[in-house]
């Protein structure tokens, strides 16, 4: 089916899209000791290009200290029928500065340009929000989760922007009894949004004090919202199985009620679905802690991200501290099967060097091609947390690797002809994080 707006008619159509030739990743200097702005890097991922596997453009933000982190598009397949919309702008929040950078990626996709900055102070003044994280569009509007109020206290709320990037105020009508915010995803055909919990900005921004988990300063609940009423209606207390529930993904199939969350510290995957009128949840993957030979406390994997392939067949997850990426076949979402695993950095010393580059950090953020064959992985989590667990990242910088994935039979293998060493950036070692493709990706598009 051909239409006029951005994105694809269905997930099945998205899978058939042309391969990505460019991707964008943010790279930070915040917290590194280099007094330069964070930037958006354009990476050439076209294997036929002479500059394949290199950064070909860098768009610096106007100020220092933003800590760019996650990104989101102004429009996705939720606007597929709307000829007035296009996937033109990438929104880059600064977690620390509260600034929102609106970047035009369409005028020259290889060299994105800054379109507008929404000043962090204005957002605080108008909405009492700070600590922006996840960006999703809904139709022609944009909502962004913020993890704190203007003073960095939880639970924060949701900023609503219109398509001209003007502040419309708070999106939600109520935060109910929610204690913390983080990620969210919605499935409009079921009138549901699910949100997860990290911690207050004042808790997670200075670094990770493990002891604060026991003092209930980190989250352990998932929240189900009435999406149209914009208020939470049910919460699941995950307990010790769900410490730091971070990334939330529904199936891409808009009719499905199945969704998944990675509980970072417990290093578990939580699965939920609707049975009749009842939402149910279960733990489907539990990664065991490992002992480091010299440390007193067992080391969790720290599953900071999960991703579902566009065909809903595979779930990918990381163990940032153990240093591995895994692929699970989730065609039966109650019984995932491990089908692939690769090692990359990590604290257990299993893969200190990849394609000739010494890896500081472990697999952290990742983005999968729409056809499910290429998984791009970066190694930095968050500046202060990097500095705690991987202090050598200050001089080595982050890396981006590509993993070849088999979407038919399962399996993963690190591509030998691709690596980007952000330790060699012109202004000194920077740290790359989330990646996005100009044509949409596996973590952006939602179907109405």
């Amino acid at each position: 089916m051909k239409c006029c707006g951005p994105g694809y008619a269905s997930p099945a159509e998205a899978v058939k899209a042309p391969s990505e030739k460019l991707l964008y990743t943010i790279a930070i200097y915040t917290g590194t000791g280099i007094q330069k702005p964070d930037y958006l890097a354009t990476v050439d991922v076209d294997p036929d290009s002479p500059t394949y596997s290199r950064v070909i453009h860098r768009l610096e933000m106007p100020g220092i200290g933003d800590e760019l982190h996650h990104m989101g598009w102004n429009a996705c397949s939720s606007c597929f029928d709307d000829a007035g919309m296009s996937r033109k702008y990438l929104i880059l929040p600064g977690v620390r500065s509260n600034n929102l950078h609106i970047v035009d990626t369409a005028t020259d996709p290889r060299a994105p340009r800054l379109h507008k900055v929404i000043d962090g102070a204005e957002i605080k003044a108008k909405t009492n929000l700070s600590g922006p994280h996840t960006v999703h569009c809904l139709g022609s509007e944009i909502i962004i989760s913020f993890l704190g109020d203007a003073k960095g206290e939880a639970p924060g709320g949701y900023l609503h922007l219109n398509k001209e990037f003007e502040i419309q105020g708070r999106w939600e009508n109520s935060m109910g009894d929610i204690k913390f915010g983080y990620d969210f995803w919605y499935q409009p055909r079921h009138n549901v949004m699910v949100s997860s919990e990290w911690a207050a900005p004042n808790t997670f921004m200075p670094g990770f004090d493990l002891e604060e988990v026991g003092h209930l300063k980190y989250g352990r609940e998932l929240h189900f919202w009435d999406f149209e009423k914009r208020e939470p209606v049910e919460s699941f207390y995950l307990g010790e199985d769900g410490l730091l529930p971070l990334e939330v993904k529904f199936h891409h199939d808009p009719d499905s009620t199945h969704g998944f969350c990675g509980a970072a510290l417990s290093t578990n995957v939580i699965h939920w679905w609707k049975n009749g009128d009842t939402w149910l949840w279960e733990k489907i993957i539990d990664i065991e802690n490992e002992m480091h030979p010299d440390w007193p406390i067992p080391l969790p994997g720290v599953m900071s991200a999960i991703l579902i392939s566009m065909d809903d067949k595979y779930l990918y997850l990381n163990n940032w501290l153990h240093g591995d990426m895994r692929q699970y076949d989730i065609r039966d979402p109650h019984n995932p099967k491990l089908t692939g695993q690769v090692f990359l950095g990590g604290l257990l010393g299993k893969a200190p060097t990849v394609n000739g580059v010494e890896v500081a950090g472990g697999p952290q953020m990742f983005q999968l091609s729409l056809d499910g064959k290429r998984l791009y992985v970066t190694t930095s989590l968050f500046s202060t947390w990097d500095n705690q667990f991987y202090p050598e990242i200050r001089t080595k910088g982050g890396v981006m690797v590509m993993i070849d994935c088999d979407p038919v039979n399962g399996g993963m293998k690190i591509a030998e002809d691709f690596i980007i060493d952000f330790g060699k950036e012109p202004n000194g070692p920077s740290r790359c994080h989330e990646a996005r493709y100009p044509g949409g990706d596996c973590t952006s598009d939602i179907w109405l």
Partner: protein, 120 residues
């Protein structure tokens, strides 16, 4: 207005005059000191510096745990000088700011002020 002298050891002992009413970050930046910073409300630790001599008031900070305070760290975006002070600035001063919590746990009295127990 009370003014104090800030000496920065890792900038060749350069000295700057500051008043006691405004936070150090803005006053030092205004005088040309290139300092890292992030949230500007005392919550994110990006601007942490190490105080090696003198007194400051940083009651508004909420980022540091008691061990970090014990090591002399101050949050420049909210800290005000209440005497002449000596600082080390920037990431070079962060040698004791970060720790791996699985390798080096905090004692109950070393947590952030709102949850710390008294030292026994």
């Amino acid at each position: 207005m009370t003014t104090h002298t800030v000496t920065i050891t890792n900038r060749n002992g350069a000295t700057f005059e500051v008043n006691s009413r405004r936070p150090l970050l803005g006053q030092l930046r205004d005088q040309g000191v290139d300092l890292p910073y992030g949230c500007e409300y005392g919550g994110c630790i990006t601007c942490a510096a190490k105080l090696t001599k003198g007194e400051i008031d940083q009651r508004r900070q909420v980022a540091l745990n008691n061990r970090q305070i014990e090591h002399g760290y101050v949050i420049l975006c909210v800290a005000r000088a209440t005497s002449d002070i000596t600082l080390e600035i920037g990431v070079e001063s962060h040698d004791k700011l970060y720790r791996n919590p699985f390798l080096d746990p905090l004692q109950p009295h070393e947590l952030k002020a709102d949850i710390a127990s008294p030292k026994v």
